[in-house]
């Protein structure tokens, strides 16, 4: 019998604890498939953030570290410098990476640290109950912007991929979406490319996923993908911002 699909070896047997309709499971699976396909299982290590994916260290079946809020790129730096023959990634949400961890991500990228960063942007803090994130859209309502995000008071959403793209050292930067099956196939290619470059020791690779939060947006899973397409994608444009391997700079 031919096996068409199965659980990636790089995932543990635990069931994900994410909400119904959440796309973290999809992002986890893409990373795990790429690790399997690249044969990195014995030399891979990931760093989990604080936020909904705080338990990512339980779900990936290789060595994992759990980091303080926003500090994953610094922790990953320490791991990579200590064990240069390991391949390291961080997995971070928008509050973790783009608010409390801004210094760590900018400087890890600026050093061209040999790591991959998987950044899940769903424009909200999920774990703590739907507060405003640095990527929350203008006029978007959250529990800490109950009247909508007012840009004259709190500023505009941060386009993190573009911010990272202002630095010289990063090797590969791409923003992808997890909103449709076709998008997920493209996202898989970006994830695999980031980890391939990581395996080859090319430098800092960064993939941003545009994702959803049905629970805290208060929109059902399918409609939330439509909402994201209509509202997030115009502001956070998908595409490859830099790929030194392909001469895109």
């Amino acid at each position: 019998m031919e096996i068409i699909a199965q659980r990636p070896k790089a995932l543990t047997k635990l069931s994900f604890t994410y909400c119904p309709g959440c796309l973290h499971g999809v992002a986890h699976r893409l990373i795990a498939e790429a690790v399997d396909e690249l044969g990195l299982n014995d030399v891979m290590t990931g760093v989990a953030p604080v936020g909904c994916s705080v338990f990512a260290y339980k779900f990936f079946d290789f060595d994992m570290a759990q980091a303080a809020h926003g500090r994953a790129p610094a922790v990953a730096t320490g791991i990579k410098r200590a064990r240069p023959n390991m391949h390291v990634f961080t997995y971070q949400g928008d509050g973790d990476l783009a608010a409390i961890g801004t210094a760590e991500i900018v400087h890890a990228a600026n050093r061209g640290e040999h790591m991959s960063v998987f950044f899940v942007n769903n424009a909200i803090y999920g774990m703590t109950g739907g507060q405003m994130a640095p990527t929350t859209l203008p006029e978007m309502k959250t529990t800490t912007s109950p009247y909508g995000r007012k840009t004259d008071d709190i500023g505009f959403p941060i386009r993190v991929s573009e911010l990272i793209n202002s630095l010289i050292a990063p090797y590969y930067i791409e923003r992808v979406s997890l909103l449709t099956p076709a998008d997920i196939i493209k996202a898989k290619k970006a994830v695999k490319k980031a980890l391939l470059y990581n395996k080859e020791g090319r430098g800092f690779t960064f993939v941003e996923f545009i994702s959803t939060c049905p629970t805290n947006w208060g929109i059902d899973p399918l409609k939330s993908r439509e909402w994201a397409k209509e509202n997030m994608l115009p502001f956070f444009k998908v595409g490859c911002l830099r790929d030194k391997g392909e001469g895109v700079e």
Partner: protein, 359 residues
């Protein structure tokens, strides 16, 4: 080995490298700058990693990562920078990681000044970061001892899977004294150190056919699991308290009329005053805690001879170790205190005057 004349900041860095430390992450701050500069110069020469982090917070989290990867790693800073590191230190304690942290203390609070102080005692031994935990805290009183403690700190950190802090000050960091170094670890010894934690640390899976899943983590969402984890930490601390207490007993005898307690830089000044009073026929002893955690409570109590009228505590702060001395003395005799703050270091003459008033 011949002795060399070195600043404390440089001597402790050299000793750390000789002890097999090949990873150092830090951020510049006075009065520990010579330490980070020495590491920047020397680490590349021994094939080690020197990385100037973007912040104190990043530096301690790099330490968390490297310690999680099971290798000897160190960071250093001075008081305000150590405050910033406290989040990471709490995580290191929770995840039971071996690491060495040096605090070259200066005057506080806030930005304070850049002169020597001992006002981070509470922070070092009573917590500092959040949660129930301890650090092993070593308090040197000379450049030689500062250097010797580097190797000792790494050995203790590896043995107990805990962070060890060397609580020095701007005087010890800046002062030059003759130092004799222990021989440097050989390449084979360093290789053995690098693989000593392979049963739990982040490392390539080269030993078994099954890939491993090691977790470096301080999160336990189940209260009963976290409760047990904290109990386990404290079992480890109890073993440390039993095995690793260090203190110096100076001139302690049944004739003592005064028993002094002082640590670090303050203790060497008190020692000078005791020596002068000894010539004048006065009998004064001193207990110098070398580990300030664990603290020599029973040893202080045992040093209070039948003629001791008073226990006198001298510190470069407003009275912090004083609380621990009071616990040790437990009302047996009066406990007096005198300290200087603001980065001002007392003189032997001032201490002598204070002690003379007791007779």
């Amino acid at each position: 080995m011949t002795k060399v004349l070195m600043k404390g900041n440089e001597a402790v860095a050299e000793a750390a490298i000789r002890s097999g430390c090949r990873l150092y992450f830090a951020y510049p701050i006075t009065p520990q700058s010579e330490l980070i500069e020495y590491m920047a110069k020397m680490m590349p020469k021994v094939g080690g990693t020197f990385l100037q982090a973007e912040s104190e917070v990043a530096a301690i989290n790099m330490v968390y990562g490297a310690a999680g990867a099971g290798r000897r790693v160190m960071t250093s800073s001075s008081s305000p920078g150590i405050s910033l590191k406290m989040e990471g230190i709490s995580y290191i304690a929770g995840a039971q990681l071996p690491a060495v942290i040096i605090n070259v203390q200066r005057g506080g609070p806030g930005l304070g000044d850049i002169q020597p102080g001992q006002s981070d005692y509470f922070q070092a031994v009573k917590g500092g970061g959040h949660g129930d935990y301890h650090l092993i805290v070593l308090a040197p009183s000379s450049v030689q001892e500062f250097a010797d403690m580097a190797g000792e700190a790494f050995d203790l950190a590896d043995k107990y899977r805990t962070a060890v802090m060397i609580l020095a000050d701007g005087m010890l960091g800046q002062m030059m004294e003759p130092v004799e170094f222990k021989p440097a670890k050989t390449a084979e010894e360093i290789e053995a150190l690098n693989s000593q934690h392979h049963d739990w640390c982040i490392c390539p899976n080269v030993e078994g056919p099954e890939h491993h899943h090691h977790e470096i983590n301080s999160l336990e969402i189940d209260p009963s699991v976290l409760e047990q984890h904290v109990y386990n930490l404290y079992d480890n601390y109890a073993t440390i308290e039993k095995n690793e207490l260090r203190y110096e007993s100076y001139n302690v005898s049944d004739d003592n009329e005064i028993l002094c307690v002082a640590w670090g830089t303050a203790s060497r000044i008190v020692k000078s005053a005791i020596n002068e009073l000894k010539v004048e026929g006065k009998s004064i002893g001193m207990i110098r805690p070398i580990t300030v955690w664990p603290f020599p409570y029973q040893e202080i109590d045992a040093a209070i001879g039948k003629n001791v009228k008073k226990v006198y505590v001298f510190e470069l702060n407003m009275g912090q170790m004083l609380d621990d001395v009071k616990i040790a003395v437990n009302g047996k005799v009066p406990v007096d205190f005198w300290g200087k703050v603001g980065g001002i270091v007392f003189t032997p003459a001032e201490i002598k005057t204070k002690l003379e008033e007791c007779f």
